[in-house]
């Protein structure tokens, strides 16, 4: 008999979601749906507000990656102002964005995914959480907490507070960096380097045990999108967009934020509030692409910092051409943390980082503007239209997690077909389906610009739509 399995809520994610698996008579999974179950409406209620309020308003979309929204939004506003921001401001924003990337990746790896990786997919769910990791491997737990504190403290030092900081404004930032602040950040670097190297060791010790998962966790050809600076290397804040195909050939290069809407569309499906961005030339659903740490490392030949480059070579050795298995998002995340710490140290050593000129001013010079930045989860795009006084008329946001939506849906089907037996559900089976989603580290509240707690469900339905079984986890 065919069934529908519901996993609700999906746990250890940022946001609400549920998964529905539909099985055939033999118990095999035939369809899988990843439902994101809330909506918020930021694009609508910003209408009528002054455009220069957008960075702080849009940052409220997310408490984990407010900095990405601040930066993408400020860049869209700068396109409206038609100004180039002072070099010191650009570097300070890079610092802030890297700090956020580090704390967010630390959250994803240590708090959300390390219970699966270090304790095992089949570990007792009563212990399969960060506290279980801290109990089993105290030094790894401490490293995770330390890295998150490192990132959050930098955000606080630079921008005033850890969550929803201000500081980033259209035209630059509001205050220059002081010597005391610079030195406080530099003093935290050595401990953070030690923490990430410890995490890399822990990851490498267990990664061989997950070959089966790596083969079926959203492992398929797709395109990859991310920011590229003019001189190559890994970049999160400035540059233009590059899209490559599954074999590594460049499909699009040097793409400015302003042509994002021309190149990428957003499809809508009735089963979820999250949209499905796709590459227009290939249409929906063929124009599937991935963003985020895996995509960024697939795009670059080198990261630009020594320790991260050593790791990147190891990463590149996983496959000929782009690494297609989403399981390796975890590894890519750790490499990006290494790169982030090294880059923060490099930027702070530059003499002009203390420059007092950190803000450009101008009025409304264009009626439309777009900005992109790399959020921890991937490319983030803000696009605004204003009237001649600078009042918001329209906004469109394309969020990193949304751009992975197609890949996540295909990924859970792939993993569910491999692991789930509709006649006999086990906790480990369903945890692996959830773990596919966790590799992407989706931020669902961002992707639907939605709010709330973060539950997830797996539901089993027969071909007639009859509800047969479900596994539910409360937030």
């Amino acid at each position: 008999m065919s069934r529908t399995i519901v996993i609700d809520p999906v746990t250890r994610l940022e946001g609400h979601a549920k998964i529905t698996l539909k099985t055939n008579g033999a118990g095999g999974v035939e369809e899988a749906y990843f439902h994101v179950t809330q909506v918020r409406g930021f694009e609508k209620f910003c209408e009528g507000r002054p455009f220069y309020e957008m960075p702080s308003l849009m940052a409220r979309i997310c408490g984990i990656c407010p900095v990405s929204h601040l930066i993408a939004s400020a860049k869209a506003c700068e396109a409206i102002l038609a100004v180039e921001i002072p070099p010191a401001a650009a570097k300070l924003r890079q610092l802030l964005n890297l700090a956020q990337m580090i704390q967010s990746h630390a959250l994803s790896f240590f708090y959300l995914s390390s219970p699966d990786l270090l304790l095992g997919m089949d570990a007792d769910k009563a212990d399969r959480h960060i506290f279980g990791v801290v109990k089993a491997m105290p030094e790894v737990g401490r490293a995770g907490v330390q890295l998150r504190r490192f990132g959050q403290r930098i955000i606080e030092i630079l921008a005033g507070k850890r969550i929803h900081p201000g500081w980033v404004v259209p035209g630059g930032v509001t205050e220059p960096l002081t010597v005391a602040k610079r030195d406080e950040i530099l003093a935290m670097v050595p401990e953070s380097c030690a923490s990430i190297l410890l995490a890399l060791d822990a990851y490498k010790l267990v990664t061989d045990k997950f070959q089966e998962e790596a083969a079926v966790f959203a492992n398929f050809p797709s395109m990859f999108l991310g920011l590229m600076p003019p001189d190559g290397g890994l970049e999160f804040t400035d540059g233009t967009l590059r899209l490559i195909d599954a074999t590594g050939n460049i499909v699009l290069d040097g793409m400015e934020a302003s042509s994002f809407d021309e190149e990428f569309g957003e499809a809508v499906e009735p089963f979820t509030f999250m949209k499905f961005p796709y590459y227009r030339k290939m249409g929906y659903p063929d124009g599937c692409y991935r963003v985020g740490p895996l995509a960024r490392l697939n795009l670059v030949d080198y990261t630009g910092t020594p320790r991260a480059d050593v790791e990147l070579r190891e990463f590149k050795a996983l496959a000929e051409g782009p690494v297609l298995g989403s399981f390796y998002y975890h590894y890519a995340r750790l490499i990006e943390i290494v790169h982030g710490i090294e880059t923060i140290e490099r930027i702070l050593a530059e003499p002009d980082i203390l420059d007092a000129h950190v803000r450009a001013t101008a009025g409304v010079n264009r009626l439309e503007g777009s900005g992109v930045a790399e959020a921890p989860r991937g490319t983030l795009m803000h696009h605004y239209k204003v009237d001649e006084n600078g009042q918001m008329l329209w906004a469109n946001l394309v969020i990193a997690t949304g751009q992975n939506n197609m890949a996540m849906n295909r990924g859970i089907l792939q993993a569910a077909q491999h692991y789930v037996d509709g006649n006999r559900l086990t906790d480990g089976m369903l945890n692996r389906v959830e773990a596919v989603i966790r590799t992407f580290d989706p931020c669902l509240s961002c992707s639907t610009h939605a709010f709330g707690e973060m539950p997830m469900v797996v539901e089993l339905v027969d071909p007639d739509g009859k509800h047969l079984d479900e596994r539910r986890r409360d937030a």
Partner: protein, 237 residues
Amino acid sequence: MSASVDVKTLVIDGVDVSARQDQTVLDVARENNIFIPTLCHLEGLSEVGACRLCLVEIKGSPKLFPACVLKVEEGMEVITHSERLLHYRQTILELLFAERNHVCAVCVANGNCELQTIAQSQRLTHVRLPYRNPKLPVDLSHERFAADHNRCILCTRCVRVCAEIEGAHVWDVMGRGIDSMVITDLNDPWGSSSCTRCGKCVQVCPTGALFDKSKVGVSHPKSPEFLPYLNLMREEQ
């Protein structure tokens, strides 16, 4: 020989104080470091007694009196803080918050807002009334300043400073009751009004209703304390 000053003695919150006969209870209380919340009052401007936050109790009367316009009297016993007054003040603040769209988290005045500070001082934790969520305009037509009617509490400080101090009388109030709005000239856009661009209205606005566009994103306390000095200098001339 200088004219003798008629001095009154009264009691505020159990403290014996003396005052000139032309002083208000609010003036005397402030001179003696006794806090009475106000929003429409501003030293240097005429009093309108509009916000009612400064209501106080006078022994022997069942009525409440606005301290900003109440002249001192010999033997008066004033109570500035009681459960009854707290209840009234909280209710007034709740009505203000419910009336328009005061979203502190994304407001330009967050952290430097008199409405926010007074709500905290009056221990306001919730608004029990349903929010009206009106759709109100934002006037961005002025080159330097902006008017966000979502944050306006109709204290009319802008109207008074523009008429009484700047002498331009660009700001005024139109409509009645809950439909009242501050306007520039005859409800023309601020940018094409007869505004002299002095910025006094922005400095005296207690909330984020009137603000300097260039200060968005920067914590910028307003500085209305220039008013008494300005008045004093003009008197000396």
